[in-house]
């Protein structure tokens, strides 16, 4: 296990609840994510993992519960404000902008850092400099290029996002999320649909992102990946937390084994 000196609590969740009609997708979840950790969130299908990410990013609104991020309560309703505060994510079903190039896609992530408001973006980009490129634009391009190099996509930057192979689209989603300069990065099944070689490469990518000082919440089904790089694992089943702890302990936890394999029946 990589040894990470944690500098406190990055994210604290208390009693987070989400119901869809009569179905309780997430039931009074309590969770703490330490600064600089890779915190994995696992569980069978329908356990509430993606719902949890949607609540964190504001795509869905919670029915009850409190989210504290870096010591500040998170209560803004609009997802983009949470991104501005430093929570970024990737999507399980890839959501890229099909007609933008790779470089442009990453620059979308930079937008909220370069321009504090829509009006600033409008006046800076359109009115003040009728010809040529403003300094913000140049800076965004440099940052984006650096990020693409970091993720090994530099030679694809003029390609259309939708023309990339699947694995590279996943990496591009990460680059776009990193471009928003997050303190907390939520990865929603980054290894889904990747071949074993790409998954091994992903190990390194995620570890290197952590080395940049980004706390990571990893939702994943690939147990080799999860157990290999996580500092802490939380297991959900039917919207409830059934186990919490370092990966070695989780692997031996009877409740987890039961959730995944079913109860042992004496013969």
């Amino acid at each position: 296990m990589p040894d990470v000196s944690s500098g406190g609590i990055c994210l604290a969740i208390e009693g987070l609840t989400k119901r869809f009609g009569g179905f309780c997708a997430l039931n009074e979840l309590d969770l703490e994510v330490a600064q600089g950790h890779i915190h994995a969130l696992i569980g069978p299908n329908g356990a509430g993992k993606t719902t949890f990410l949607n609540l964190l990013t504001g795509v869905l609104s919670a029915d009850a519960g409190k989210i504290t991020f870096n010591g500040q309560p998170v209560d803004d309703s609009r997802p983009f404000r949470r991104t501005v505060r430093g929570i970024a994510r990737t999507f399980q079903n890839i959501r890229l902008f099909p007609h933008l190039t790779v470089l442009e896609t990453v620059m979308i992530g930079e937008h909220c850092r370069a321009f504090p408001s829509v009006w600033a973006a409008f006046t800076k980009a359109v009115l003040q400099r009728p010809f040529g490129e403003c300094s913000e634009e140049r800076q965004m391009r440099e940052h984006a290029t650096e990020l693409l190099k970091f993720l090994g996509l530099a030679d694809r930057r003029e390609a259309r996002a939708s023309d990339l192979p699947y694995g590279e689209q996943r990496k591009l989603e990460m680059a776009r999320a990193l471009a928003t300069q997050p303190k907390l990065l939520l990865l929603d099944e980054p290894a889904a649909g990747m071949n074993p070689r790409e998954t091994v490469e992903l190990d390194g990518v995620i570890t290197r992102i952590r080395e940049r000082g980004v706390t990571i919440i990893l939702v994943e089904h690939d147990m080799r990946l999860v157990m290999g790089i996580s500092d802490c694992v939380t297991v959900l089943n039917f919207g409830t937390k059934i186990a919490d702890g370092p990966p070695e302990r989780i692997q031996e936890d009877p409740a987890v084994i039961e959730a995944y394999l079913g109860e042992e029946v004496p013969l």
Binding site: R78, F80, A88, H111, V118, A121, V126, T180
Partner: protein, 318 residues
């Protein structure tokens, strides 16, 4: 005033130019994925407000035109608020309903002439120059927008709204801005029209006009700012080209065509080239159907223009 141009050409260019501006009013909200069938309604708001200002209050034309655009913009933001949450066919219906409301107000409000129409609006002899000026400013604005971060954010919203919002783009404000800007441009087009035609009534800015505006952008292509210009230009030029062909046909000596079966073919062709309004609308319908099958993204697309780029430019940042 451009004196070398004959009156007919001038009128033709004025209406083509107003159509180009109207096409741009559709293009701006469309850039963020908002399809509006109410642009004629915003034109009406701009036209009536500017005409009221010049006729009833004696405001100079330029000031009235700008105020008309501004009032249309405010209306646009007001309509844009409820439009934020809805998409696709529902947004079409909302904007359609809005333009019907405007038309009913124009019909029943006696202050602006009611059913008799708004008459004796002061004629602006410089309309062509104004139209050209507005188009140049719009082209500068859009060329800058297309290469700016804000323009990219608009494209991103069009292509995947949820992803754009989660990546820190203020989707609500940008959509409102583009809807308001589109309404302002429509208001300018309306003001220019009113002070050129000098007469308008509740049917001048009807649904068919909104549909025509949509067709301009669909034919030209909505993914690049050259598309609306091309679409409006081409569709305004077609009737004129046909008319010129017909004039040329009439110049042929009679003895060349006055025998069977050439005379029948001549008559058919002659009738076909008589491009009156009903035929124009049929043609628009057909063009729309063919375009949807053959080139759903329009004649010009952003990807197509990228392919046209010089290699040197393409590798500029590589």
């Amino acid at each position: 005033m451009l004196d070398w141009m004959d009156g007919y050409t001038r009128v033709l260019l004025v209406f083509a130019g107003i159509n180009v501006i109207a096409a741009y009013s559709f293009y701006v909200p469309y850039k963020t994925g908002q399809v509006s069938l109410g642009q004629a309604g915003f034109m009406a708001v701009g036209a009536y407000s500017s005409a009221i200002l010049t006729q009833k209050f004696g405001v100079p034309f330029a000031v009235a035109l700008a105020s008309g655009g501004l009032i249309a913009a405010v209306t646009g933001v007001a309509v844009g608020f409820p439009a934020l949450r809805i998409k696709g066919v529902y947004l079409l219906l909302l904007t359609l309903g809005f333009s019907e409301i405007i038309s009913v107000i124009a019909l029943s409000w006696d202050y602006v002439g009611g059913a008799q129409g708004f008459r004796n609006i002061s004629f602006n002899p410089w309309t062509l120059e104004y139209v050209a000026g507005v188009i140049v400013v719009l082209l500068l604005l859009f060329s800058r927008l297309e290469r700016s971060s804000l323009g990219r954010a608009m494209d991103a919203i069009h292509q995947n709204e949820t992803a754009a919002e989660v990546m820190g783009i203020d989707v609500v404000r940008i959509k409102l801005l583009s809807f308001g800007l589109g309404a302002a441009i429509a208001g300018l087009a309306g003001g220019l029209y009113a002070h050129h035609a000098t007469y308008m009534d509740s049917t001048t800015f009807n649904v068919m006009l909104s549909v025509e505006i949509l067709v301009f952008v669909v034919v030209g292509g909505g993914s690049t700012f050259w598309g609306p210009l091309l679409g409006a230009a081409v569709l305004n030029a077609i009737p004129e080209i046909l008319r010129a062909l017909r004039d040329w046909l009439e110049l042929l000596p009679v003895e060349w065509t006055d025998f069977y079966p050439i005379n029948r073919a001549y008559d058919l062709l002659h009738d076909f080239l008589d491009f009156e309004n009903a035929k124009r609308l049929i043609a628009y319908g057909l063009i729309l159907m063919v375009m949807m099958i053959v080139r759903p993204d329009g004649l010009l697309t952003r990807d197509g223009l990228l392919r046209l780029r010089l290699p040197r430019w393409k590798t500029r940042y590589a």
